[in-house]
C-alpha cells in the first residue's frame, strides 16, 4: 500500500536529483545557481513531508534566498562562465 506522502517524496527526490545533476554540469554559473535553488525547493517540500516544519522554516530562506543572493553577488563580481 502506497500513501500519498510516499509518492510525493518519490517525486520530489527525483526532481532534486535531476536538478542537482544539471547544476553541477551547467557551464553558465547563473543558470547553475538557479538549478541549485530549484533542487533546494524540492528538498524543502521533502522536509515538510518528513514531518519537519522547523527545518522548512530555516531551510527555505537560507537555500532559496540567501545562498543564491550571495552566489549571484559573487558571480557578478568575478566570472560568469565556468572555464572549459
Amino acid at each position: 500500500m502506497i500513501t500519498p506522502e510516499l509518492a510525493l517524496m518519490l517525486i520530489f527526490v527525483s526532481i532534486a536529483f535531476v536538478f542537482a545533476y544539471l547544476a553541477v554540469e551547467e557551464r553558465k554559473l547563473i543558470r547553475a545557481v538557479v538549478y541549485s535553488a530549484v533542487q533546494s525547493a524540492a528538498f524543502a517540500f521533502l522536509f515538510y513531508l518528513l514531518g519537519a516544519p522547523d527545518i522548512v522554516l530555516v531551510y527555505v530562506p537560507v537555500t532559496v534566498g540567501i545562498y543564491p543572493a550571495a552566489l549571484l553577488f559573487l558571480i557578478r563580481k568575478t566570472e560568469e562562465v565556468e572555464n572549459p
Binding site: 536529483f17 554540469e25 522547523d54 530562506p61 534566498g65 543572493a69 550571495a70 563580481k77
Partner: protein, 283 residues
C-alpha cells in the same frame, strides 16, 4: 552538451539508481522508516508539560523543559551546550568574513541611489514590514509553534538582501543600518545569550545554593532557582523564550553585516586595497 542531452543523462542516472533500488528492494531495506529510538521517545514524552506531568508527576518538574515544541526544547535545553558552541562557530565565521573586509568602506556616498522602478519599490516598502513581523512572530512563538531563533534570524536576513537589490546599499545606510550598528546588535544578542546562560551560576555564587548551568527549570533535590515556566498565565518555557529572542538578534544582524559587506562596489574595494588611504580606513 546541450540542455536536452543533460536532462537525458540525468534521467539515465536516475534510472540506474532505480535499477539499483529494485535490486535492493528484492532483498529488503535496512532500518529506515521504522520507529524512533528510545532517546527520541524520551524527548517526546518529557518536553511538553502536559505529557511530562503525566509521565513524571508534578514533583519532578525540572526533568521537563516545559515547551510543546520538542525541537526547540532540544536545541536550547537538552543539548544547550551543543548549541552554545555552535553559536560560537557562527560568530567566528562571521568575524572571519568581516576580517577579509577590514579597512574597506565606501569613502563618500556620492552617487545617487539607483535601483528598480517605482512600482517595485512601492511593493517592497509594503512587503518589508510584513517580513519583519513574520520573523518576529516566528521568534517569539518559537517555544509554542514550529520556529525559533535560528529560523526567525534566517527569515529576517532576507529583508536586507531585498532592500539592497530593489533600492540600493545607500538606502539601507541612510535608514541607519550600518555595519557598526549591526555589529553592536549582534554582539548584544551574543552577550544576552551568555547572560541568560550564566545567571543561575551568578545567583548560586551570591546566595550559596545549588544551581545548574544551561537548565531552564529547577532540578529535583535543589529547588533553588529557575526561570519561570509560566508568566502571567502564559507559557514562556523558562529560558527558552529569552534564548530565542537573543539568538534572533544575533543571527539576523550577523547576516545583515555579511550582505552589507558583499554589496560594496568592487572598484572601491580595489582602490582601497591598492592605496590603503585614510579615507578608506574609517573603521
Amino acid at each position: 552538451m546541450s540542455g536536452v542531452r543533460k536532462v537525458a543523462s540525468a534521467v539515465a542516472l536516475l534510472a540506474i539508481v532505480a535499477a539499483l533500488s529494485l535490486g535492493a528492494a528484492a532483498g529488503g531495506m535496512g532500518p529506515f522508516f521504522d520507529g524512533i529510538r528510545s532517546l527520541g521517545a524520551f524527548y517526546l514524552s518529557t518536553a511538553p508539560p502536559q505529557i511530562a506531568e503525566l509521565v513524571l508527576g508534578p514533583s519532578y518538574r525540572g526533568l521537563s523543559s516545559y515547551s510543546p515544541e520538542v525541537v526547540t526544547s532540544i536545541v536550547w535545553d537538552y543539548r544547550g551546550l551543543d548549541t552554545y558552541f555552535e553559536t560560537a562557530v557562527f560568530f567566528l565565521a562571521i568575524i572571519g568574513a568581516v576580517a577579509i573586509y577590514r579597512g574597506i568602506e565606501e569613502p563618500v556616498l556620492r552617487r545617487p541611489a539607483s535601483g528598480l522602478s517605482p512600482i517595485v519599490r512601492a511593493v517592497t516598502k509594503f512587503l518589508i514590514p510584513i517580513n519583519i513581523a513574520v520573523a518576529a512572530s516566528i521568534a517569539l512563538h518559537g517555544h509554542l509553534t514550529p520556529g525559533g531563533g535560528f529560523q526567525a534570524g534566517a527569515a529576517l536576513a532576507v529583508a536586507p538582501i531585498i532592500v539592497i537589490v530593489v533600492f540600493s546599499r545607500r538606502y539601507l545606510l541612510e535608514r541607519g543600518v550600518t555595519k557598526l550598528k549591526a555589529l553592536f546588535f549582534r554582539s548584544a544578542g551574543l552577550i544576552g545569550i551568555a547572560l541568560v546562560v550564566l545567571i543561575p551560576v551568578i545567583w548560586s555564587v551570591i546566595s550559596g545554593e545549588w544551581a545548574w548551568v544551561m537548565q531552564n527549570q529547577w532540578k529535583p533535590g535543589a529547588e533553588a532557582f529557575s526561570y519561570p515556566a509560566y508568566l502571567g498565565g502564559a507559557l514562556i518555557s523558562g529560558s527558552i523564550w529569552f534564548l530565542n529572542l537573543f539568538e534572533f538578534l544575533a543571527v539576523s544582524f550577523g547576516f545583515t553585516i555579511l550582505f552589507l559587506l558583499i554589496s560594496i562596489d568592487e572598484d572601491t574595494v580595489r582602490s582601497c586595497m591598492i592605496r590603503g588611504g585614510e579615507e578608506c580606513d574609517r573603521y
